[in-house]
Structure formats: structure tokens, C-alpha cells
């Protein structure tokens, strides 16, 4: 039983990371209909920036917030400089740009900081009072930090005039312009926020998976699965989907271990958990193509 709770807890911690990246993907998707394949690599790059700042002697949290701020500005700039001119370009050109961004982030990080795997610090204490047996201190910290970030974003989008303008711009750009909303800047702001959320995810996960230029590849895949599972058009759904994928992959591994212990038959283990989790996601999507919480979009052709 204790092992099950441990597995669920660590699943929640992973899920929190996926949820953040999934939300970053969805934030850009709802306003542009594009999936930013470079989201993970951008987050990885942000994590390196924070690592560098820590190396230079800055306190963890100062480096953390600095990296978030830098990522935000970088996200805004990427949208304004790289993507703005492609405003009316066909989807494939934009996908090529995303792949280019991914490759650039990856190789620049590799060149500057080398491809050697690095340890990444955790800001959380070693022991958590009361929970120590069930969930690791870092895992608990990850869940708390990401939930905080997600709630902040929720409040921002739900209750502030700027958040409202961003939602309006995403939903109906023409109408938003007619209401005086600077839609182009809202898009850039969306990119900034997505980059910032991604940075948080990267810095939280780096202690678990270690820092290297390819650390986000698998995570982006899980996050994408989570976003699809929850419904790619629904920010809340994407967050929930991210958590579900996280818990799901660990439950699969737990179940596999239990079966092996009980019956001595090896069916699935840690190695296959990604596969099984993705199979479950694909099954759900086959039955419910718009995701669990997504809206069915009716398009006139």
C-alpha cells in the first residue's frame, strides 16, 4: 500500500511537470493552432541559464526568478522577431521554424555548456516533516511550485483585464481588434508566458532527470500526450491531462512490478511504462478524439 502511495506521489510530481509543459503548448495552440515543438528545448535552455546563474554564485531562487523573467522576454522576442513575419505563412513553414528553433536551442546549449550531464540543485530541504516516507521533499516541492504557478496563471487569465484581453484575442482575433485589443502583442505575451511556464517546468525537473541538452525530449512527448488527453483546446484539460499521464505511467510500472511479484511473470516494468501510458492515451483519443475536456470544433469547409 505504501509503495502504491509512493508511486502515485511521484507520479503527481512528474505529472506537475507535464502539466506545466502541456499548458505552455496549449497556450500557444489556442491562439495560433500550432504546436510549438521547440517548447521543451526552450525550457531546457532556460534551465541552463538558471544553472549558469547559480554557478556564478547567485542564490537558487534569485536565479530561478531571473531565468523565468529572461525566458519571458525571450519568448516575447521570438514571437515578435521570428514568427511575426510568418504571420500568413503556410503551416509547414511554421513547423520548419519550430524544428529550427528546437535544433538551435539544442546545439547552442550543447556548444556553450557541453553535452555532459550535470547535476542540478534542488531548493527544497532534504526532509519534509510528516510526509518523508511517502513523498520525497523535492517531489513535494515540485508539486507545490507548479500548483502555485498554475493557480497564478488561472487568476491572471480569469480575473485580470489583460488576461481577459488575451483570451479574447485567442478566441476571436478579428473581434478582439474591433474591441481595441492589440492582438499581435497578446500573441507575443502568450509566447512569453508559455516560455516562462516552460522554464519553471525545466528547472523543477532538472534535479530529477539531471541537466543535459536532451533532458526535455521525453518530457515534451509526455506533455503533448497530456495535452491531447485533456483536450488540446482546453488549458484546464491540458493541466489535468498532464497530471493523469504522470500518475498513469507510474501506476503502469507499479502494476507491472506487482504482477511480477505475485505471479512471477514479467509483463511490464519501468522500461515499458512510456509505451503503455501512450497506448492508453491513444486509446482514449480513438474513443474521444477531442480529448477528455476538449470541445469538438466544427469547421465549415
Amino acid at each position: 500500500m505504501e509503495q502504491l502511495i509512493q508511486q502515485v506521489a511521484s507520479g503527481l510530481a512528474n505529472g506537475a511537470i507535464y502539466a506545466c509543459v502541456a499548458l505552455a503548448l496549449v497556450m500557444i495552440f489556442v491562439s495560433t493552432d500550432h504546436i510549438n515543438f521547440a517548447q521543451g528545448e526552450m525550457a531546457m535552455f532556460s534551465t541552463y541559464i538558471s544553472w549558469q546563474l547559480i554557478q556564478w554564485g547567485l542564490d537558487y531562487w534569485i536565479a530561478f526568478f531571473a531565468a523565468v523573467a529572461i525566458s519571458f522576454v525571450a519568448g516575447v522576442l521570438i514571437e515578435r522577431i521570428v514568427l511575426r513575419p510568418l504571420h500568413t505563412a503556410p503551416v509547414l513553414s511554421i513547423i520548419v521554424v519550430f524544428i529550427g528553433l528546437l535544433a538551435i536551442c539544442n546545439s547552442v546549449a550543447g556548444t556553450v555548456w557541453s553535452y555532459l550531464i550535470k547535476e542540478y540543485p534542488t531548493p527544497f530541504p532534504k526532509e519534509v516533516f510528516g510526509f518523508s516516507g511517502l513523498i520525497g521533499a523535492h517531489q513535494l516541492g515540485v508539486v507545490v511550485v507548479t500548483l502555485l504557478v498554475l493557480s497564478l496563471l488561472f487568476v491572471f487569465f480569469r480575473y485580470t483585464p489583460l488576461g481577459l484581453a488575451m483570451r479574447a484575442a485567442a478566441q476571436n482575433p478579428v473581434s478582439a481588434r474591433l474591441a481595441g485589443v492589440r492582438v499581435d502583442w497578446m500573441l507575443a505575451l502568450g509566447w512569453g508566458l508559455a516560455a516562462a511556464v516552460g522554464a519553471v517546468a525545466g528547472m523543477m525537473v532538472a534535479h530529477i532527470v539531471y541537466l543535459d541538452p536532451n533532458m526535455m525530449a521525453g518530457i515534451l512527448l509526455y506533455a503533448f500526450a497530456g495535452a491531447l488527453l485533456g483536450g488540446i483546446s482546453s488549458p484546464g484539460g491540458a493541466v489535468l491531462g498532464g497530471f493523469m499521464v504522470g500518475v498513469l505511467e507510474n501506476l503502469v510500472a507499479y502494476l507491472g512490478n506487482a504482477i511480477e511479484k505475485g505471479f512471477g511473470v514479467y509483463i511490464i516494468g519501468n522500461g515499458e511504462k512510456l509505451t503503455v501510458a501512450l497506448i492508453i492515451v491513444i486509446t482514449v483519443l480513438t474513443l474521444k478524439p477531442s480529448g477528455l475536456f476538449g470541445r469538438v470544433v466544427v469547421k465549415r469547409v
Binding site: P161, L164, A165, Q171, L178, A179, G180
Partner: protein, 237 residues
């Protein structure tokens, strides 16, 4: 006196296709002017061209100030509120959010609250539906919402694109009655595009008639109304 809106040599293009040919007209402060014409005459395009929503050449001046080539949202912020064809509802947002968008630069101030109250005074039905998703409103209510959203911009000029489209006659009457009140009480000038010429000529003081992208007739509504060609083509008697 300077005209509130002055349009000269306005040409508009959809890709290679030219939709307006040197359209010229002027709007007086405080008045209601209507653009009449058959389907495809260029009425909607004229409104879109004023707000720079299509590729445009020519000169548009608002309150003496040239606005040609400026971004749509900048023109809107100068006080030109465009109530678009199809109402432009933000379907997944609530009625209140739909209204607050137009005032988002003014934050959540008391002034915005007063403007909301003013809007609800014109359209009490919207107050009843304030927390409802705007997509669930009836067509008439969505039209009211579109006019209200435009009002929240505190406009000096309202561009109305077929506010009667697809609505029951009683609702249309109600909306047009309120449009007149808005014009008189809030001193908002209006440029009205309508298929329903009789209705438009009743509300407006001036009328321009468009045919295939050109102005073919202009004058006070009372004169246009009694023109034989207009009567035959647009009023049907």
C-alpha cells in the same frame, strides 16, 4: 465645420479583386448616415476599409485626422466602434466579459462600472444574462451585445453592419429604437449599413447608395426615399 468622418477616393481590394472604386462621402457630427445597396455593392467593404480590415487605398480622415493605414485597433481606440457583420460575439466568454474586453485598458475602475450600467440601461435584457456564456444568447441578444460592446469603447462614431440581419421584426424594431436613443442621448454618430432600406432610411438623416463599388446617389434620407429609382430597386413599391 469639419466632418466627423471624411472618405475620399477610397479603393479596397480582396487579393486581386477591386471591391471599391473611389468611394467618397462625409459624415456630420451627431448624425446617422446609411449606406444602401444590393448584395455585393460594397457596403460591408466600405465599413471594413474605414477600419483598415481590408487592403485599402485612398484617404479616410476621422475628426480631421488621417487614419488611413493605421492598425484596426488604433482606429478603434480613436473612437470608431465597428459592430461587425455576424456580431463578432466571443462565444465562450460571459456576457460581462464580452463587455469588459472593450474597456480592458481602463481596468476594473468605477468608470467602467458606470459604463456597464449605462449599457444595461439601454439593454436591460443583457443584465439578466450577465454571467451567461455569450454563445448561448439568442441572435437578437447577441446583436444587442455587439452594440453594447461597441458602446463600452465610448465611441464617437459607430459603424453598424446590418444590425437587422436574421432577426425577427419585433427585435429589429426594438434595436433600432435603442440605436436612435444612443444617437440622441450618448451623442454617438452612426454609419449604418442595411439591406432593409426602408428601415435604414427611417433611422438615418443622410443616405448614400452604392452600386458595384461606386457611390451612385447621395442626399438627405427624405430625398433619397422619394427617388423613383431607389423606390423601385430598394423599397419595392
Amino acid at each position: 465645420m469639419v466632418a466627423l468622418l471624411e472618405v475620399n477616393g477610397l479603393r479596397a481590394f480582396y487579393g486581386q479583386t477591386q471591391a471599391l472604386y473611389d468611394v467618397a462621402f462625409a459624415l456630420e457630427q451627431g448624425g446617422i448616415t446609411t449606406l444602401l445597396g444590393a448584395n455585393g455593392a460594397g457596403k460591408t467593404t466600405t465599413l471594413r476599409a474605414i477600419c483598415n480590415m481590408v487592403r485599402t487605398e485612398g484617404r479616410v480622415a476621422f475628426d480631421g485626422q488621417p487614419i488611413t493605414g493605421r492598425a484596426t485597433e488604433s482606429i478603434v481606440r480613436l473612437g470608431v466602434a465597428h459592430v461587425p457583420e455576424g456580431r463578432g460575439t466571443f462565444t465562450t466568454l460571459t456576457v460581462e466579459e464580452n463587455l469588459r474586453i472593450a474597456a480592458y485598458t481602463r481596468g476594473r475602475s468605477a468608470e467602467v462600472k458606470r459604463d456597464l450600467d449605462q449599457v444595461f440601461e439601454y439593454f436591460p435584457r443583457l443584465r439578466e444574462r450577465i454571467q451567461q456564456q455569450a454563445g448561448t444568447l439568442s441572435g437578437g441578444e447577441q446583436q444587442m451585445l455587439a452594440v453594447s460592446r461597441a458602446l463600452m469603447l465610448r465611441p464617437r462614431l459607430m459603424l453598424l453592419d446590418e444590425p437587422s440581419f436574421g432577426l425577427a421584426p419585433l427585435i429589429v424594431q426594438e434595436i433600432f429604437r435603442i440605436l436612435r436613443r444612443i444617437n440622441e442621448e450618448s451623442k454617438v454618430s452612426m454609419l449604418l449599413v442595411e439591406q432593409n432600406a426602408a428601415l435604414a432610411l427611417d433611422l438615418a438623416d443622410h443616405a448614400y447608395v452604392l452600386e458595384t463599388g461606386r457611390v451612385v446617389m447621395a442626399g438627405p434620407s427624405s430625398v433619397v426615399k422619394n427617388d423613383e429609382n431607389i423606390r423601385k430597386s430598394y423599397l419595392g413599391y
